[in-house]
């Protein structure tokens, strides 16, 4: 493929269907940092989702014989005050944190994407309603809002295993407005482009115009912001869980594992309880951001040397 496909068509050679995504992949593979981010993320996923199967402490639960052990050969990262293996718990917590992060991102992107496209495309009254609601949500500071919602959730005594899903919904409620705004602005500029006028001239109905013409043009932006927002969602979940308002024990999450640092004795004497989850959050969020940045650089059509 030494020739550009354009030359190939004109010079009469056969050209294979070259997809835009192939070009994106090509550019992506050139970005070392992004690849590093992707690899780290893969490792984190393997660590969290496959790792526990190799742990001898999966079924052990609490063990009063082995509380507060420092890292040793049988417990690589020590044990906590109930004698649970910290490494195993770290892996299980990773499952929760990643699930919440990705789930919250999916919800937020779906809500924000749909509302943003509708508001941008139809304008007028729909735009006003959607964007004013978004504005109101954006004027409320996110963290206190999350705290209040979480407090209500605690008041209603939501069972521990369901809190995970409620945290996802809460996070997406706080996050969709900025996404909707971004998508709307993109759609506003796309709507005035000549090819959109052309679809009007060809008498296409709205469904086709939105799904076939607008959406594929917004997808790159959606992918990038979605990726970057995973990091934010993991952080927010950790913050909530750290304060005991998100995912609560016995379900482990990186946030509520760091919570042990609240106790002075644990903080000073047992760093193996709170350093590993902190490092896990740090690495995951950095990796997500590296991946997101790399994706943006390789997808962004403005960077394309056409």
């Amino acid at each position: 493929m030494a020739y550009s496909s354009n030359e190939m068509i004109q010079s009469g050679h056969t050209v294979q269907k070259s997809s835009l995504w192939k070009e994106v992949l090509k550019r992506f593979l050139k970005r070392k940092m992004a690849i590093a981010g992707l690899l780290i993320l893969l490792l984190v996923f393997l660590f969290s989702f496959v790792g526990p199967f190799f742990s001898p402490y999966m079924t052990a639960g609490t063990n009063s014989q082995a509380i507060h052990q420092a890292p040793n050969l049988s417990h690589w990262l020590g044990t906590d005050h109930l004698g649970r293996d910290v490494l195993t718990r770290l892996m299980l917590a990773g499952r929760i944190s990643l699930t919440v992060g990705i789930g919250a991102m999916f919800l937020a992107v779906t809500i924000g994407g749909i509302l943003g496209i509708l508001a941008g495309y139809y304008g007028g009254i729909i735009d006003q309603i959607v964007m004013r609601i978004a504005d109101i949500l954006m004027t409320l500071p996110g963290l206190p809002l999350l705290f209040i919602m979480a407090a209500i959730m605690s008041e209603w005594q939501v069972p521990a295993e369901q809190r995970l899903y409620i945290v996802m919904i809460m996070l997406s409620l706080v996050n969709w407005p900025s996404l909707a705004r971004l998508i709307r602005s993109q759609v506003l500029s796309l709507r005035e482009r000549e090819f959109m006028v052309a679809t009007e001239v060809l008498g296409l109905r709205d469904k086709r115009k939105v799904l076939n013409h607008l959406l594929p043009n917004v997808v790159p932006l959606l992918i990038v912001t979605a990726t970057l927002s995973v990091g934010g969602a993991i952080l927010s979940e950790s913050v909530l869980s750290f304060f005991g308002l998100g995912v609560v024990p016995p379900t482990a999450s990186w946030g509520n594992m760091i919570n042990t640092a609240n106790t002075l004795i644990d903080f000073t004497n047992r760093p193996w309880l709170w350093i590993p989850p902190g490092v896990a959050i740090f690495i995951t969020v950095i990796a997500v951001n590296l991946l997101g940045d790399g994706l943006r650089d390789s997808i962004d059509p403005n960077m394309k040397g056409r």
């Binding site: 496909s5 354009n6 068509i9 004109q10 009469g12 056969t14 050209v15 269907k17 070259s18 835009l20 482009r193 000549e194 090819f195 006028v197 052309a198 679809t199 009007e200 001239v201 060809l202 008498g203 296409l204 109905r205 086709r208 076939n212 013409h213 594929p216 043009n217 059509p301 056409r306």
Partner: protein, 329 residues
Amino acid sequence: MAQQEPLLSVHQLKAHFQSEDGLVKAVDGINFDVYQGETVCIVGESGCGKSVTAMSIMGLLPDTSKVEGEINLAGKDLTKLSKGNMRRIRGNELSMIFQEPMTSLNPVMTIGEQMTEVLLEHQAISKKQATKKSLELIKMVGIGRGEQIIKSYPHQLSGGMLQRVMIAIALACDPKMLIADEPTTALDVTIQAQVLNLLQDLKEETNMSMLLITHDLGVVAEVADRVVVMYAGKVVEQGTVEEIFANPKHPYTKGLLQAKPVLGSRKKKLYTIPGQVPKLVDLKPSCYFADRCEHCMKICTQQTPELKSDDSSEHKVACWLYENEVVHK
């Protein structure tokens, strides 16, 4: 050709925009007809309402504009149609091609997807049939290797090819009427001629009518049957292409023809019409061309001349020079 009913009849069409300075009369009461199988060219310099005319026929002007008058296409008044009915006509009976083929196609969809889409929208056919029809259309506009073309993206094709694709898309549903808004302006000269010939051939093959908007008199001479000369939102002269070129009447038309470079004659300086198109805000009743006209008379600055012919021919002009009674008074 003039005996039958016109396919497209524009009657007293006005398109006004409210601006901060006042009412802009971009198109101000124009009339013209296009008959079956005929090519009508609208000529004029920038800002005299050519494109707005095309946009108002297509019903593409924003809601903030005021469009009045009648636009009859095959017996239907387009200005009175509902949005849904108008959508059914667009791309189906009435189609349009644009100046910029590079930006008129969606960059993230393949050519094939964009071609079949129109067919699927307006005709009850399957996806397979639509693809087959697309291949035929690509062949019809003179591009080889259709199978490759429908799989490629717009940025992989040249401007000339894209304009051919645009034409293929516009003609996909066999429209009765094609509006071409400066279809060759963005193309280089050799491709221009090819695209014009293609349009001409296809027009003859399908017996559709064409409304060609251009400022290029070379294009007009090549393809037009009749010519409508517009100036400042009004029609100043209209007639068959032979009449306009052989015997232009309005000083503006004469100026346009003089300002055209002629191959083989090397003049020191190309003729230009002095001045520019007046601001279209709050024009007083007068001939709008008066302050640029070398034959300007007193009446030209006081009254608006009407578009009429001095004999019964189709050659009409809006100029006081040809209003005998007034001149001789």
